[in-house]
Amino acid sequence: MTEAAPTPALKIENLRIALPKGSDRPFALDGLSLEVKRGEVVCLVGESGSGKSLTAGAIMRLLPEPHVHVAGGAIFVQGEDILAKSDKEMKAMRGERVSMIFQEPMTALNPQKTVGWQIDEVLRLHTDLSRAGRKARVIEMLERVHIPDPASAYHAYPHQVSGGQRQRVMIAMALCLSPGLIIADEPTTALDVTTQLQILKLIRELQEQEGAGVLFITHDFGVVAQIADHVVVLKQGEMVESGPASQVLNAPQHPYTQALIASVPSLTPPPAKCFDAAPVVLKGTGLTKTFAARGGLFSGRRKSVTAVDNLTFELRRGETLGVVGESGSGKTTVSRIVTRLLEADSGAVELDGTDLLACSPREMRAMRKHIQMVFQDPMASLNPRKRVVDLIAQGPIVHGENRKKARAQARELLELVELSPAAANRFPHEFSGGQRQRIGIARALALRPKVIVADEPVSALDVSVQAQVLRLLADLRDQMNLSLLFVTHDLRVAAQLCDRIIVMQHGEIVEAGETAAIFADPQHEYTRNLLSSIPGRDWTPPKSATNAA
């Protein structure tokens, strides 16, 4: 165990993880070798199903055994062969020598225990500190992760602190005993862009102080550009490329890495097109929506929240208007009001001159075919018990189309969204995420709408699939002269697809204008903050002529 060179924080040799029989491939991970030195951040990058998270599970020895198990290779954590350890020895290592930060800080913390208790648990498990000593240490940790008022945060429950703060608590928990190796599994994926930047900086800062090695798992090349010293790219369980961050990011060697990086939307918007001559298709005026949390007959009223406040916008024919902002800014409420899935308190939504909000339910049913929606989660928004052809044809049939004709059109639409016509008779679960979103788009197009409202349509997709779906949306928009109202939190995506954007904060528009102009010269403080928080904004993905949009 004594080596001449300093022992790396983590060394993986030829790791192989077997999947249960009947899976799509025999090994989730096949022949992975990597090394994380002390004081180094190694990013493990790959799309969903690449085996990144199982690698983390194998290092922690927390794989769902016996179904998924290590079938070969070796893992050394600070020089110790963890595959040779007993369960008891492993338990002693977890939390003390190697710790983990998880993706979703809301679900990764026990809702019934205070923040302080949960950090304290690590100390209770691994140290002999007194109760007072532990409490002092926990508060010190909360301070180090920059949580305001650590003493009161100690007694708070997870639901009482914000998402970013929860992730800080996770980090405090992971760093409590100064482990030599930290595994961070997509730690910022669930966070808003400004919070994400803060957390990435925090991880970097603490890691430099502690000199720990970090294995950082992510699917986001922007995050890689922000934090990585070294990059390992996984594709379907196989390591396709490994090297220093600057080399992999700027001169990728393997075609898969090249394709992945080419899919990252560039932050430079395409030159603005002029829509001044095009007629206004959709116009929102003075839209306001307040959510009053109402109690029962005898219980008092709770505080109300203004989700959208006096919002006004115009969308012209063939144009794409982006609605961007962080969670809670009211973006989704806007998309729901415009499609009248949610009733606004006041204001008007004019579609070709007809005020949708003033329509009777019967009139609204007729108007619906002109304005259709594409949802975020393509799995949840398609009825799992209906065949694809019926899902697509349903709209036209409801609006009086002949069944046979509607089905024939549905098959044509599948071709339009680049799915094989054979897909028509299958069920949604038989498709991948990207294919399901294509079905969602075909369903929206079936009624030949004038306007499509897309609420985060690509945020659940892998980057390469995201690029394909964005290109498809752009192509269809141009072919059919569609107007798109595009809600997104991802400024890279907005930069590529939207002609104009409105930036929302606390239900209000803080800035609106042409995408290129706003990206080049943001006027409002909030917009500037958003743009400067985009991970890896100083890195321009090298790419060929194949642009995302």
Binding site: G95, F102, A108, N110, H159, G296, R302
Partner: protein, 329 residues
């Protein structure tokens, strides 16, 4: 006016206000339903006497106020009820309130023992079954649970009497205590406990299987959640995981069921008390229906409504205590 009222107190007061219209509606509904049933107290009394002439029956009806219209009777009854006057039982020849007080203890005792036994054993067995899911132990526990669930309590009661009282002679057939025993102190407690064993078992086994099945599913679900994985990654062992991270979260849906089922257990006690001749509200209810003792029956229903409301309130308090995300407002 702005005295700081503790949230729990203001919550309790509000719940009390909410309960009043519910109980009034229950009483009006029950009163009208009972009036729809053929026959009244006088019919039952006259039947017991072996018949009487029409004039006497008329006089009796007038005396009891039964000659008035249903609405007048309802109004009179509700007005008295508002003063907590339950009226007079013409069958037992004493105030209804006294009968109720005599019987309440037995029923509450039976329900408390049955529910606590069903709850405790149910969650423990459910947790064991979940931790050894799909093993022989799990199969055994789940199958037993299914059998209890499928067996009607009257059948179970009769079979137990047949086995433990008639064949083996271990336990008393019925009643709440040995009438000729005149026990005092701990001997009295032991005597009552012996009498309660079979009724409690009969009443609790069905509910035990509910809790068992729900707890098993709940533990299995919680064990897969992210925060359990987090605790494992911190180095927590299986016992610690179970005690601190899984059990408390898994208990929440079971506690909800506990409150909801209280009223059905109260209903179940009618059958069990009648079979084991326990002098409780259930048996009293059964006799009052047979004898058309309207006042007593209404009193029982009023009392039961209040018990259910109180228990649901206590369940909510317990729930708020268990789940930090819930705040009483």
């Amino acid at each position: 006016m702005s005295l700081p009222i503790p949230p729990i107190l203001s919550y309790a007061l509000r719940r009390l206000f909410q309960a009043v219209p519910v109980i009034i509606l229950i009483m009006i509904g029950t009163f009208l339903l009972l009036k729809l049933a053929p026959g009244d107290t006088v019919d039952a009394l006259v039947g017991d006497m072996g018949g009487a002439d029409a004039a006497f029956i008329e006089r009796l009806r007038a005396e009891y106020g039964l000659d008035q219209s249903v609405w007048v009777q309802l109004w009179r009854y509700m007005a008295k009820l508002a003063m907590f006057d339950f009226g007079w039982s013409f069958v037992y020849e004493q105030p209804v309130s006294r009968i109720l007080l005599d019987r309440l203890g037995t029923t509450l005792l039976l329900m408390a023992t049955s529910l606590s036994m069903a709850f405790t054993i149910g969650i423990v067995l459910g947790a064991i079954a979940a931790r050894r899911a799909y093993s022989l132990t799990d199969n055994l526990i789940s199958t037993l649970g299914l059998i209890f669930y499928a067996t009607p309590s009257f059948f179970l009661s009769l079979m137990m009497i047949l086995l433990f009282s008639v064949k083996l002679g271990w336990l008393p057939v019925g009643g709440i205590k040995t009438i000729t025993g005149f026990y005092t102190g701990w001997d009295h407690v032991a005597d009552v406990a012996r009498h309660l064993i079979m009724p409690t078992a009969a009443l609790s086994l069905i509910y035990l299987s509910f809790y068992l099945r729900l707890m098993r599913a709940s533990v299995l679900e919680v064990a897969e959640l992210d925060y359990v994985r987090t605790a494992r990654a911190k180095g927590a062992g299986e016992t610690r995981l179970m005690v601190h991270h899984i059990m408390r979260n898994a208990l929440l849906p079971v506690v909800t069921l506990l409150g909801l089922q209280f009223s059905t257990v109260l209903g179940g006690s009618v059958v069990v008390e009648t079979i084991f001749t326990l002098p409780g509200l259930g048996q009293l209810a059964y006799q009052s229906v047979i004898q058309r003792d309207m006042n007593t029956l209404m009193g029982i229903i009023f009392l039961c409504s209040i018990i259910v409301v109180v228990v649901n309130f206590l369940t909510d308090l317990l729930y708020a205590r268990l789940d930090s995300r819930i705040q009483l407002k």
